[in-house]
C-alpha cells in the first residue's frame, strides 16, 4: 500500500510540477490542482496508512488503536478548503489577466507558443 | 474482514452474488463505452451501471448491513433514488449537446433540426 501511494503521490506531483513550468495560465491552474492532490495525499499518508479502521468512535470503544489517525485528516481538510479558495482566486485572476492583456500567457505577453 | 464473519452463510453467499452481479453489470456497461462504435451508441452503455449495476450492489449492501445490524436498513436506497433522478438530466443534456455539435458540423447521421427543439 505504502509503495503504491508513494508512487501515486510522486506521479501527481511530477505531472503537476511539469504543468507548473508551462507558459499557459490554464496549464498552471491544472498543475496547481494536481500538486494539491499530491500534497493532500502526502499529508494524509504521514500518519501511516490504515485500511478498514474505524473513522468514527464507536460507543463501545475498546482501544484507540483501531481508529484511523484523525489529525492528518483534519489537516488535509483544512488544506483542501484553502486550496479550493486559492484555486478559485487564481482562476479569476487568470481570467482577468486574459481579459486585460488579451492572451492567456502567464506573463501576459504572447511570445512563445 | 472481521465484520463479515458475523454474517450467516446464506447471507454471505447472497451478498457475494449481489456484489458480483452488480460489478458485472457495471463492467459490461463500461465495456460498452469502450467498444461501441459511435457516441450515440456509447451513451446507452453506462446506463447498465446506473440501473442494475447499482441496484445489485445496493441490494448486497442492504442485505449485508441489515443482517449485520439485525434490523432493516434502507439507507442505501437513497443512492438509487438520487441516481435515478440525476442520471437522466446529465445524459439528456449531453446527448442534446452532441446532437447540436454534430448538426453544426453538418453530420449526415443525425436528424436535422426542426424549428425549435
Amino acid at each position: 500500500m505504502e509503495l503504491v501511494l508513494a508512487a501515486a503521490i510522486g506521479v501527481l506531483a511530477a505531472s503537476g510540477v511539469w504543468l507548473l513550468l508551462r507558459p499557459r495560465t490554464f496549464q498552471l491552474i491544472i498543475g496547481l490542482t494536481l500538486i494539491s492532490y499530491a500534497v493532500n495525499l502526502f499529508i494524509f499518508s504521514i500518519g501511516g496508512l490504515r485500511t478498514g479502521a474505524d473513522p468514527v468512535l464507536q460507543d463501545a470503544a475498546g482501544g484507540i488503536a483501531q481508529y484511523a489517525d484523525p489529525l492528518p485528516q483534519a489537516l488535509v481538510l483544512t488544506a483542501i478548503v484553502i486550496g479550493f479558495a486559492t484555486t478559485a482566486l487564481f482562476l479569476v485572476v487568470l481570467l482577468t489577466s486574459r481579459g486585460l492583456t488579451g492572451n492567456d500567457h502567464v506573463d501576459g505577453e504572447d511570445g512563445t507558443p | 474482514m472481521s465484520h463479515l464473519d458475523a454474517l450467516p452463510p446464506w447471507a454471505a453467499i447472497l451478498v457475494a452474488v449481489f456484489v458480483m452481479l452488480g460489478a458485472l453489470f457495471a463492467f459490461v456497461g463500461s465495456l460498452g463505452l469502450l467498444r461501441l462504435k459511435n457516441f450515440y451508441q456509447r451513451v446507452h452503455a453506462p446506463t447498465l451501471g446506473t440501473t442494475l449495476g447499482t441496484f445489485f450492489m445496493l441490494a448486497g449492501s442492504i442485505t449485508c448491513f441489515s443482517v449485520l445490524h439485525g434490523r432493516p436498513i434502507f439507507y442505501e436506497i437513497l443512492i438509487g433514488v438520487f441516481l435515478t433522478l440525476t442520471t437522466p438530466i446529465t445524459l439528456m443534456l449531453l446527448v442534446r449537446a452532441a446532437l447540436y455539435r454534430d448538426r453544426e458540423e453538418g453530420s449526415a447521421d443525425v436528424p436535422q433540426a426542426t424549428l425549435r427543439e
Binding site: V4, A6, F26, I30, I46, G83 | -
Partner: protein
Amino acid sequence: MPDNILPSTILGLPFAAAVLVWLLRSRGRNLAVWLMTGTALLGLLLSLWLYPAVAGGGALRQVMPWVPGLGLDLVLRVDGFGWLFMLLVCGIGLLVGIYARYYMPADDPLTSFFALLLAFMGSMLGIVMSGNVIQLVFFWELTSLFSFLLIGYWHHGASARDGARMALVVTSGGGLCLLAGMLLLGHIAGSYDLDAILAAGDAVRAHPWYTPTLLLILLGAFTKSAQFPFHFWLPQAMSAPTPVSAYLHSATMVKAGVFLLVRFWPVLGGTEEWFWIVGGTGLVTLVLGAYSAMFEQDLKGVLAYSTISHLGLITMLVGLGSALGVVAAIFHIVNHATFKASLFMAAGAVDHEAGTRDLRKLGGLRRVMPVTATLALVAAAAMAGVPLLNGFLSKEMFFAETLAGRHGPLLDVLSVVIAVAASAFGVTYSIRFVRGVFFGRMASCLPRQPHEPPLWMRVPIGLLALACLLVGVLPARVIGPSLRVAASAVLGAGHLPDYSLAIWHGLTTPLLMSVCAFAAGCLLFAALRRRFDGFEATPLTGRLSGKRMFERVLAVLAADIPRRIERRYPSRRLQPQLLLIVLLALVAGTLAATSAPFGFRPRWSSVDPAFALLWLLGAACAIGAASQAKFHRLAALVLTGGAGLVSCVSFVWLSAPDLAATQLLVEVVTTILILLGLRWLPKRIEGLAPESRAHRFRRRRDVFIAMAVGLGVASLAYAAMMHPVADSISRFFLERAYTEGGGHNVVNVILVDFRGFDTLGEISVLAIVALTVFALLRRFRPAAESIRAPFQPQRQVAPDAEEAAHAVDRSLTDYLMIPGLIIQLMFPVILLFGLHLFLRGHDLPGGGFVAGITVAVALILLYMARGARWVEAHLRVLPVRWIGLGLLLAVGTGLGSLAFGRPFLTSYFRYAELPVLGKLPLASAVLFDLGVFAVVVGATTLMLIALAHQSLRRPRQPADLPGGQG
C-alpha cells in the same frame, strides 16, 4: 555657566537656532541673520571661555546618555585640538554669516539658507567635539548632507545639481567607509570611546585588521578633504553660493578630513602603511592641486584647486609621521582657513560686484574697489607664503619637515624638490589671482558696473586678512598658546617637539627653499603670463577630468550595468521564477535529506492489487491531464476530475470518509468554476505554431525536473509512511473526542473544537477570497474576441429574433425545460441533504463545510438550469451577508466562552433532556460549525455567481446594464 554643560550648550545652540530659523521663516531674513551671527558669536565666546579647561592639556568631557547599550553615549570631548577647531568653526561662521547677509540676493528669504548653514555649523562642531567615534561619524555624515543641500541651494542650475550630487556621493560614500573603519577600530579597541581608542594605539597597529581599518578611515578622510583621487568634487562644489564655499570648502568641512588624520595620528600613524599612503596621497594632491590652480580661469576654481593643494600639504605633513609635522599641520590648518576664507569672500565680492569670476574678463579692479583689492592682496600673499604673513611660517615648517626626511636619499631629495615646486606653483597662481583681478588693464564690458562692496562685506575679509598679518608678525604672541594647546592635545603634553614660532630663524635651508620657491614662482608667472588666458583646460592633466571620469564611472557602475542586469532579472516572467523555486526546493530537500543517514529499509508491504490498479488509473489521468492541458482544456479538466475521483476513492479506501466527501464536493465546485471561466480563454489549436528547438529543449528539461521532484516527493512520502511516529498527539484527540469534545467523529471534533482556531482561519480565507473574486470581477474586462456571446447561443437564439415578442431566452428555457424541472424538484432535496450533513457532522462524516458546499451546489444547479435572471427573480441570495453573519457567528461562539471565564473557543457540551424529543446533544461547537456553514455557503455562491454574471452582462448594451437585472 559651569564648564561641564558648556560643550553641550555650544553644540546644541546651532541646531536649536537652525530649527528656530526654520520655524520662524515667515519673519524674514533679518531674524535669520541675527540668529546666525548671534549663535556663532555666542559659540565663539563660550569656546573661548573654555580655554582654561583645556589649557592644561587635559580634555573636558561631557557625557550624556543616549544609547549606552550600544556603547553609544553622546560624549562631548573638548581638548585643545578640538577647541582650536571650535574657534575656527564659530569664528569663521560668524564672519560668513555677516558676509552672506550682504552677499546673497535681496529677494532670497535666506531662512532655509541660514538654517542649513547653522545646522552645518552644528554638525561641524559635533565632529570636532566628538568623544565617541560613532558619534563622530554621525556628525561627519551630517556635514556631507548639509553641504549637499547647501551646494544645491541654487538647484535650478545644472552645475549646482551636479556639484551637489558629486559632493554627496563622494563624501557620503567616504563617510560610509569611515563608519566601517570606525566599527573595525572600535572592535579592535573594544570601545568606541575616543579616549579608549587613543589609548589603544599599540594594539590597533598590531592587529591583523589594521590595514583594512586604516584604509577605510583614510578613505573617509581623503574624500572629505578632497585628496587625490577624490579631489574632483571640490571644484564642482564651487557652484555653491560663495559664503558656502568660503565656509565649507575652505575653512571647515574639507578640514574635517585632515582633522581626522591629525586626530587619529597617535593611533594609526607611524607605520609604513601610514607613511606611504598618507604621505604619498598628500604629495600627489599638493602638486596636482597647485599645478591645476595655475591654469584655472574661474576665480573660485583657482581657489578651489589651491585649497586642494593646501589640503594635500597638510595631509603630507601628517603623513610624514613626525611630531613636528603634526604641529606644522595644525598650524597650517589654521592659517589656510584664515587666508582662504578671506580670499573666497574677496572673490565673492568681485563676483558680486562685477558679475563674473572669469579671470580672462576681469582686471584692474583695484581702481574701483581698492579696499577689497588691498585685503585680497594681503590674503593672497599669505597664500603664496610671503614673509610676515602666516602662510610663510607654516610653509617654513613644512620645508623644515621635508628636509628632516628619513626615507632614503632619493625620496628625501624628491620630496624637497616637489615641495619647492609646489610652493612655486602656489606663488604663481597667487600672483595670477591678484594680478588678473585687480591689476592690469581695467576690464571692459563686465556684466555689472563694479564698485566697492558694502562695508559689512568688507569687514569679514578685513578681519581675516588682519589675522593673517597678526599671526605672521607676532606668531608666538597671537597663535603660540593656542597652537601649543592644540598640538599637545594630539601629541600628549610631554611629547611636544621643539619648535619656535619666530619670523626669523636665521639663514636656514627652509628659508632658502622659500626664496627659491618664491623666485621660481615669479619667474614661472612671468614666463606664462601671456599664455594663461589661452588655456581652456589644464595642460597635461586637463584631459583626465576627474569630474568626467566620475560621471562615467558612476553612470556605468551605478546605472548602466545595474540596469542591464536588472533587465535580465526574471521579474517579468513567471516560468523561470517557478523553475528556480522548484529547483531550489528540490536541492534543499535533497541536501537536507542526505545530510543525515537515512535509517529505513524499503519494505514491500502487502500491495493490494486493486489499490495498485486504482492508482494506475489515477496516474493515467494525471499524466493525461498534464499532456492535454495545452490544446484540449476540456479533456484536461475531465482527466483532472478523474485523478481527483481516484484520490477521493483512496481516501475512502484508507478509512477517511470525511476527506472523501470534502474532496468530492470541492472537486465538483472547482470543475464548475473552471468551466465558468473556460469561456473567456482564447481558442488554442494544436499544430499552428511550429515548435522550435529551444522549446523542445525546455520541455525535456522540465520533464526531467518534474520527474526528479516526483521521485523526491515520493521517497519522502514513503520514508515518512514507513516511520509513523509512535506517540503522536492524535492519541489525545481520540481519547478525548467523545468524553470532552462530545462528538464521535474525531475529525470533526478536531475541526470545530480541538483545532477550531484553524477552521476559523480557514473560513476567513474563504471569505477573503470570495470578496477578492467579487471585487476583481466587478471590474472585469474580457478580451476583445470573447466579448461576444459564444457562437452556440447566438446560433440557437436566432429563431428567437424572428418572434421578438417573446422573451430573450426562449431557446434556453425550451432546451432546459424538462431537465430544469427535475433540478428544480431536486433543489429542496439537496438542501435537505445539506442540512443532514450539517447536523450529523459532529458524530458522523459531514459538518459545516461539506454542508455549506452542498447548499452552494444546489444553488448553482438552479442557476445552471434556469439562468441567473430567473433565479435572482425568485430567490434573494445575499452572499456577502451570509459571509458576514457566518464569521460573526463563529467568532461570537468563540467569544462566548470568555463570558464563562474560559479561553476563546472553549467548547461547551452537554445533553439536554427534552419532553418529546429525548436526549439532545447541545454543543457550542455546533454553533461554531453553523458559522462555518454560513461562510461556506456565502463564499462559494459569491464566487460562482460573480463569475457567472460575467457572461450575463456582456452581450447586452452598456446602456441597459445597471438596472434591469432583477
